[in-house]
């Protein structure tokens, strides 16, 4: 990317300048690159690599990954921000902006002679206070589907066009609610995300059941079955010469041949066990039988199964063993002895879909619904990638809200409140540390300011209005990005994740302080900076 090359330190410059000045300029530089991305009116970027690879994104985390950041400080900030994304799935751009702003504010104070350590101390106190404000502002959302939809929609509309965002929002909420299992941690892995390169993004659908990225490998197997028992297993149905009979230890060809036959028989016996159960349960009924195996199934075994009308898939994803049993019931079997009906799952509809050289198998209308699939569709690879990133973030937003039990008003409302409360708090702080608290209070406003600029409004007007209204109404107020007026986020359903805001407060303070205390930290060894 062009802009980021501005950050490359000229070697002489780096040597001459103070490490602190370098850090501050790097933080500002990366802030400049990222600020146009913030919020639903931010800039969408299309990155075209020299080879023609295309990436369309607005997501701070994705952009940070794509940029060739050479400057060590900038790459430190980038890594800290993306590490935060790994944890909560959101908030990267905000993190970069707030760090940049904290350092800008600190820069002013330092130029007036204030010691960085005092500023860092102020930041620290401000953070503690800000976390208190967060607790006060948070809105409980236990069992409230509407709020879940709101928080997911808020997040997704910052990533893809709002019509598509609204579609994905419903899918993400429904998917997470489906896999919820009382008393157990929410495992997003139980939502399969499958890509199909055809049609358009708005054909993306939620499938109640599983979509597998492979199909039967035998021409005579059925392409579509109804009322199907599902055997989920991890048992080799593939004859392989094992190490012992590789020819070294057997004197005669006959002796070897015998062994080969015996091993082949062994595999065939396994297949016959499946066939026997199928006959018992399905023959003379309208029921069918499907085998989904994590291990291999060789052509001879496929042939035997096909002759019985059994649909068999080999080399299923390891994770699909669990997903299948959550969706269809039954148990994933590691052994085929004593196979019985209770161990099988059930699905009303299993069918194959062929797309070029790719096959997909849909296992739908299942007995349980504790595992579902979001089936992404798009005309090309980059659309699918963009969708996938968005859906992952949407799912995370819903999960975060459920785990947190709360959400936070968005549209700058949280930051305005924190800023205002910190200004009050500042009065109680003794000595110069107060200046650090004040700097923190100012820095938080970078979020509403940037949202305002990105929507084409005057940021000073906005801030004045927001601060005034917050004081007079005494409820959180945010910015209406289409009118430039004030709104109450709760009325419009603009919510952010509680855990994301909490993370932002924490990591911005730590990173900004580390960058300020660079001299001391360098002496203590750079290693304490990592993570």
């Amino acid at each position: 990317m062009a802009a980021i090359s501005l950050l490359n330190p000229k070697a002489e410059f780096a040597r001459a300048a103070q490490a602190l000045a370098v850090n501050i300029s790097a933080a500002k530089g990366i802030q400049d690159v990222m600020k146009t991305n913030l919020g639903p009116k931010g800039t969408m970027k299309m990155l075209v690599s020299g080879a023609g690879d295309i990436k369309i994104t607005k997501d701070g985390n994705v952009l940070l990954h794509e940029m060739q950041i050479q400057h060590p400080t900038a790459s430190l900030i980038a890594r800290a921000s993306t590490a935060m994304d790994d944890m909560t799935g959101d908030g990267t751009t905000s993190t970069v902006l707030v760090i940049g702003e904290l350092l800008k504010q600190a820069d002013l104070l330092i130029s007036e002679g204030l010691h960085p350590r005092i500023i860092a101390e102020g930041f620290n106190q401000a953070r503690t206070k800000a976390l208190e404000v967060l607790e006060k502002l948070k809105i409980e959302c236990k069992g409230n589907r509407e709020i879940l939809v709101d928080v997911a929609r808020t997040s997704l509309r910052t990533k893809v066009h709002h019509s598509l965002a609204d579609l994905l929002t419903e899918h993400c909420v429904d998917a997470v609610l489906a896999i919820q299992n009382p008393g157990k941690d929410l495992d997003l892995n139980m939502v399969e995300i499958m890509e199909m390169q055809h049609k358009t993004a708005t054909d993306t659908a939620l499938i109640n059941g599983l979509v597998l990225d492979h199909g039967a490998r035998h021409p005579d197997m059925p392409k579509r079955v109804t009322n199907a028992y599902i055997l989920t297993c991890n048992v080799s149905l593939e004859y392989e010469k094992s190490e012992v009979n590789s020819g070294f230890f057997y004197k005669t060809a006959e002796e070897r041949e015998k062994l080969v036959l015996a091993e082949r028989q062994f595999i065939e016996d396994r297949v016959k066990k499946i066939i026997a159960l199928k006959k018992k349960l399905c023959d003379k009924t309208d029921k069918n039988f499907v085998v989904i195996n994590q291990k291999g199934i060789d052509p001879l075994s496929l042939d035997l199964l096909a002759k019985e009308g059994i649909l068999a898939l080999r080399r299923a994803k390891r994770r699909n063993m669990e997903r299948l049993t959550l969706a269809c019931g039954g148990t994933a079997m590691n052994c085929l002895d004593d196979l019985s009906e209770e161990q099988l799952g059930f699905s009303n509809l299993v069918y194959e879909h062929v797309l070029g050289e790719n096959k997909f198998t849909f296992v739908e209308e299942c007995k349980h619904k504790h595992s579902v699939t979001i089936l992404l569709k798009g005309p090309n690879k980059h659309t699918l990638t963009q969708l996938k990133d968005a859906v992952r973030d949407g799912l995370r937003a819903v999960k975060n809200a459920l785990d947190d039990g709360a959400v936070v008003p968005g549209a700058g409302a949280f930051e305005v409140a924190v800023s205002k409360e910190l200004h009050k708090f500042k009065e109680t702080v003794k000595g110069k540390t107060r200046l650090g608290v004040q700097a923190f209070a100012e820095a938080m406003l970078v979020i509403p300011k940037t949202l305002s600029v990105n929507s084409g409004f005057d940021s000073q007007d906005t801030i004045v209005k927001l601060l005034e209204e917050y004081t007079s109404l005494d409820v959180p107020v945010g910015l209406d990005l289409s009118s430039g007026e004030i709104l109450k986020p709760a009325d419009q359903g603009i919510y952010d994740n509680y855990s994301v805001k909490k993370q932002i407060l924490g990591s911005c303070t730590v990173i900004a302080s580390n960058l300020l205390l660079v001299d001391e930290i360098m002496r203590a060894g750079m290693s304490s900076l990592k993570g």
Binding site: M1, M44, M46, A51, I56, R217, K241
Partner: protein, 547 residues
């Protein structure tokens, strides 16, 4: 069960990909498109898959996963060209507020003469390679600068956490690699690619692996090997750790880090592979890289990956015949077990390239007159010596009519080599007589290795266009188009010596110091365990008696 015999190729790292790129090129230059000529002796379906793209065109691409760092591909598109719509969408088609779309374009890298020519040929649809001689030595920076092969969209797997050639944050340690593997995106994605290649195989033999062993890729490959061992434990795994010098000067700390990586790479690969064959053109590779191996008819620059990787690729193209000849059902498993008796998981590579007969020469006379060893070692710290116990040899490019001279001498009839109808048979007989007590197996095919561009011009001037030797120099406008070769795998005492020399090098390290300078810490225990593994392994080679 004759179908299949598929082998999946897994490449880890830039150095390995240099080798891989040459190897795929060599194979494709050897494809026979003429339907009237007899089929190739090589069954290309072993390493390649047939597919069909969105435009309903039939594709033939490697069953391979190629891992490299962000920014290493130059003009190569991550998803390949075969399955993707070319061109850049116009910004208006992006569903977003129109004035809020920013297009950021990186300049297209300049394509070298060879790639430009390739594009032209593509346009006209004439596969007409080798007619021109290319001087590419100054144009090669990354392996895609000379890659002819087109990949399946599943093939390229890019590590985004680290950038190619990033001096601020180099991908330099085993532990970085294993962290990348365990990061949210990489490992799972890679395993899925792998699984899909396995799924479509009817009768998979196993995996052949090229791995960088001195940088962060060692850790990635180490983790991948462990995964393969878990998930596909009945399949063969043949691993080739690749060692190449990248820049001439290294700090002592960097050298130490390389030793740590090597120890980990060798230990993990021998634990989780059926057979491990370390490969390098340098004679020594631990701290400093030693001089290049001597090949009588090659002039190559041992510090230039484009050259050395061609030699390593020629080796692979020859030795891998064992599991991809059309005529038999020999499998990777058989090759691996043929040189790994009693726990000897590691073996040496040896190569003769070109194995040039004189003009109108023949194998019988050539062998009779041969002095010194037939081949050079490609395994560092292993010399070609008498300590060999077992060997598996593959020969390419000797035609039936080149076995014996047209004009015979009376005593030829009594020569024990005489009565053989294949080069394999004759060489086997020769080895039986010349190397006492070595148990050998030899196979051969008549097809040569194709060395048309972009194979580097490394042959000496006495090698002719057809790979034969002549005292008259080859005209300078002419390139060598094919070459015969002999490649071998040997289980020898020297393999054990190599391992113990690495072990003692590793024992000399001040581990604390290296770990402090490293960006992340390798578990000290893991490392000592790995050293122990090497020591135990080296002991398997101490005596040839029981083999």
């Amino acid at each position: 069960m004759s179908s299949g015999r598929e082998v999946i190729t897994l490449q880890f790292g830039h150095q390995s990909n240099f080798v891989g790129a040459h190897w795929w090129n060599i194979q494709e230059s050897g494809f026979i498109y003429d339907p009237t000529s007899p089929p190739s002796e090589i069954n290309h379906d072993v390493l390649y898959r047939e597919g069909i793209n969105h435009r309903n065109e039939v594709t033939f691409t490697p069953r391979a996963i190629v891992v490299d760092l962000h920014g290493s591909l130059n003009h190569l598109k991550t998803s390949g060209e075969l399955y993707d719509d070319p061109g850049v969408p116009s910004p208006e088609t992006i569903p977003w507020q129109e004035d809020k779309i920013e297009v950021v374009t990186t300049d297209q890298p300049v394509k070298n003469e060879f790639l430009q020519n390739l594009e032209k040929e593509d346009g006209e649809g004439v596969p007409e390679n080798g007619k021109m001689i290319f001087e590419l030595d100054n144009d090669i920076n990354v392996w895609s600068d000379y890659l002819k092969t087109r990949f399946h969209p599943r093939t390229l797997s890019i590590v985004n956490e680290y950038k190619h050639n990033d001096n601020n944050r180099p991908f330099e340690s085993y532990i970085q690699g294993s962290e990348v593997w365990n990061s949210p995106n990489f490992g799972e994605d890679w395993c899925d690619k792998c699984r899909l290649f396995v799924e479509e195989s009817d009768n998979l033999q196993g995996f052949q692996i090229l791995m960088d062993s001195t940088n962060g890729f060692s850790g990635l490959a180490g983790e991948a090997l462990q995964y393969l061992n878990d998930e596909y434990n009945s399949k063969s795994v043949l691993t080739f750790p690749v060692l190449m010098s990248t820049s001439s000067s290294h700090s002592t700390d960097e050298e130490s880090m390389r030793i740590v990586n090597l120890v980990m790479a060798f230990a993990k690969s021998s634990e989780f592979s059926s057979l491990v064959v370390p490969m390098s053109c340098h004679n020594t590779t631990w701290r400093q890289y030693g001089p290049g191996r001597n090949f009588q008819h090659l002039n190559y620059d041992v510090n230039f990956s484009y050259h050395t990787s061609a030699i390593l690729a020629s080796y692979l193209e020859t030795i891998s015949l064992y599991y991809r000849r059309r005529s038999d059902a020999y499998r990777m498993l058989n090759l691996c077990s043929s040189v790994t008796p009693t726990g000897r998981k590691m073996a040496n590579a040896v190569l003769s390239l070109p194995f040039a007969l004189g003009e109108n020469g023949n194998l019988l006379r050539t062998l009779e007159l041969w002095e010194g060893p037939l081949w050079s070692s490609l395994t560092p710290h292993c010399e070609v010596d008498e300590s060999v116990a077992l060997q598996s040899i593959a020969v390419r490019g000797i035609q039936k009519h080149q076995l014996v001279p047209t004009i015979l001498r009376p005593q030829d009839q009594c020569n024990p080599l005489f009565n053989h109808t294949t080069s394999a048979g004759m060489l086997d007989a020769y080895l039986t007589f010349s190397c006492d007590g070595v148990s050998s197996q030899v196979i051969s095919i008549e097809e040569n290795i194709s060395t048309t561009a972009p194979y580097p011009n490394i042959f000496s001037e006495h090698i002719q266009r057809d790979g034969s030797f002549s005292s008259n120099p080859r005209p300078s406008f002419m390139a060598v188009e094919k070459s015969s070769s002999i490649a071998g795998l040997q289980s020898a005492k020297s393999t054990g010596d190599m391992l113990s020399s690495l072990h003692s090098e590793a024992s000399r390290l001040n581990l604390r110091r290296i770990l402090k300078s490293a960006t992340s810490d390798l578990e000290v225990e893991d490392y000592s365990e790995a050293k122990e593994t090497l020591l135990c392994l080296s002991e398997c080679y101490s005596d040839n008696m029981f083999i």
